[in-house]
Point group: C3
Chain length 247, copies 3
């Protein structure tokens, strides 16, 4: 009567190439979200259920927002493999968070923040284009898919969303990856696997390079009244800068 | 030309059993949300309109998120009775918030927090199953329907969402109620009224018992660097614990 | 293969009257959102991309939430002109934020806060009515369309949402404008251009008058235990009041 979790209808092989990329996006982002929820910058006495929910929000949040915008039932809810792989990734991340040293965890989080970036950007851009939306909307949906989970996590942890402040081209990498994929796949007609491979390598590499070189999105010079107001907010601003410096 | 508020098309009797349960969910959650918005832990100099909006978010927020995920126009917007009953519940809660003593209000809020829990869990799980989603997604949608309103309220009041921190099995009760209902209704084929009655009694009873016995979701033991960070956040952590102890 | 940004399919002339009103709503709200993100009350060391994202959230956030509730692909994503005009408005606002004096900026923000209010209220109410929702839901969707972008901005800037606290009839103006438009257009059958003109003049005028006269939504008298709690939150409450006084 009801769809079983592993019915052939929902087999891994029915996902198609884009579905597999989407599943990689959800799984890696759930892993990353769990590490983030357990990191000193975000942890706020969460329960184990709370950390898992944040991991799940990181994993399927972006894909869910994307599909809501495209007026579809979110793929992560339709196909049971998303929740299955996300739960596995969350458990693995919790295991590592407990048994690994702090340096390893911080390094892993940096690496994963780069590695998780390109996947949702590619799927969001592809789905938006096949829904006949324009280039601008496709890049925007790529960015929302990539960074939407982080927005939910940051708000829930009472942090200024990472999209808005300096973070080594977090939004920029997502937007450029989406744009590159769109040009390769939809303007030049490159095969989906090749276009994905190039876009993933670009996104991953550009983000790692940004982290390594300390490239940052431009922070506007501040009008005088903001400088005046800054003193009141000083501890927060220092906090934010220190947080970035730590990572 | 336009649907009247009380046109027969939107009569109470056309709602069906699940619709009635959904209406109970919305009404009781609007009552609970209004009490919460006026409680010392959440109140932040809101206007009367602000309190009413938070009550409405508590009442129809969860059901609206659920229906967005299921790719439907939200039932609370389609059928005017939802807003009608929610507004009545908000007015009643405001009346009580003014005329009752503090002890009575706190007790009522505890009672309502338990009483409001099972309804949306049941409707969310039922609707997800009839949309042919898997067990995992049905439980997730049950939890989102039940606790989504609270997430909106907590974020708007600058509080760490109740889902993430200790709160006497807030998420756990919703998930178990959804699971019990799914097993009764979709695996064992129990009648909707009986399945609902059993699930409501279970959810309400389990939550009351958790509140009474002080059962809590497990908070992970903290790595050293989080303990170090804890000192900086001490006032917040104490605040949160005190808040739970108060309730 | 893919829709070009300026293909005739997405020409400005295919938008229709309601689409033009929606485009005005998005553009003016993007301008307003950018100014808000750069104002001392909201600015939190955002990057230029962060400010632009907040401007975009202000511009298309309300319309996007509205269309999600109506179960449509959001118009601001379907028609490329929305993003085009929003980006232009964001650039203009950034230019003004840099080159204008503080007094001019504050005055412009006040003026725009009034001028941006009626448009989304009208479109939201109209679309909800043509989707056969009731009066209550139509006013609610008008309010969500009008103020949803601000909710996203305020949460992202860690501010108590403007809807909930005193703000010279922010929600009230949106609700009354939506109600007036519904009565004119759907009860009295007035032409869309005339109904819009009257509702815009009313909403703009009522809001300006509220700002000028200091009209405020009613803040409930506070029970004793909230007064006691107030001392702890004193700096925030003073902050909020000062912020309103400044504007």
């Amino acid at each position: 009567m009801t769809p079983l979790i592993f019915s052939p209808e929902f087999g891994l092989f029915t996902l198609g190439t884009l579905g597999i990329i989407d599943l990689i996006a959800a799984t890696t982002n759930a892993f990353n979200g769990t590490l983030l929820a357990r990191s000193p910058s975000h942890y706020k006495h969460f329960t184990i259920i709370g950390v898992a929910l944040l991991g799940l929000a990181g994993g399927i949040g972006g894909g869910t927002l994307r599909d809501i915008l495209l007026n579809e039932v979110p793929a992560p809810l339709v196909n049971p493999w998303y929740v299955f792989f996300c739960v596995a990734a969350i458990l693995l991340a919790l295991l590592i968070a407990y048994n690994a040293g702090e340096k390893f965890r911080a390094g892993l989080l940096s690496f994963m923040t780069a590695f998780t970036l390109p996947w949702y950007a590619i799927v969001g851009a592809d789905k938006a284009m096949t829904h006949h939306l324009g280039y601008g909307a496709a890049i925007l949906i790529g960015v929302i898919g990539t960074t939407g989970g982080r927005w939910i996590i940051d708000l829930s942890c009472m942090k200024i969303p990472q999209q808005l402040v300096r973070g080594e081209f977090f939004v920029g990498t997502a937007a450029l990856t989406a744009l590159l994929y769109i040009v390769l796949r939809f303007s030049l007609g490159v095969d989906i696997v090749l276009a994905t491979a190039v876009a993933v390598l670009f996104g991953f590499g550009f983000r790692l390079l940004s982290l390594y070189m300390g490239w940052e999105e431009w922070e506007p010079s501040e009008p005088d009244e903001l400088r005046a107001g800054e003193k009141a907010h000083h501890s927060l601003s220092v906090d934010i800068h220190e947080e970035f410096e730590e990572r």
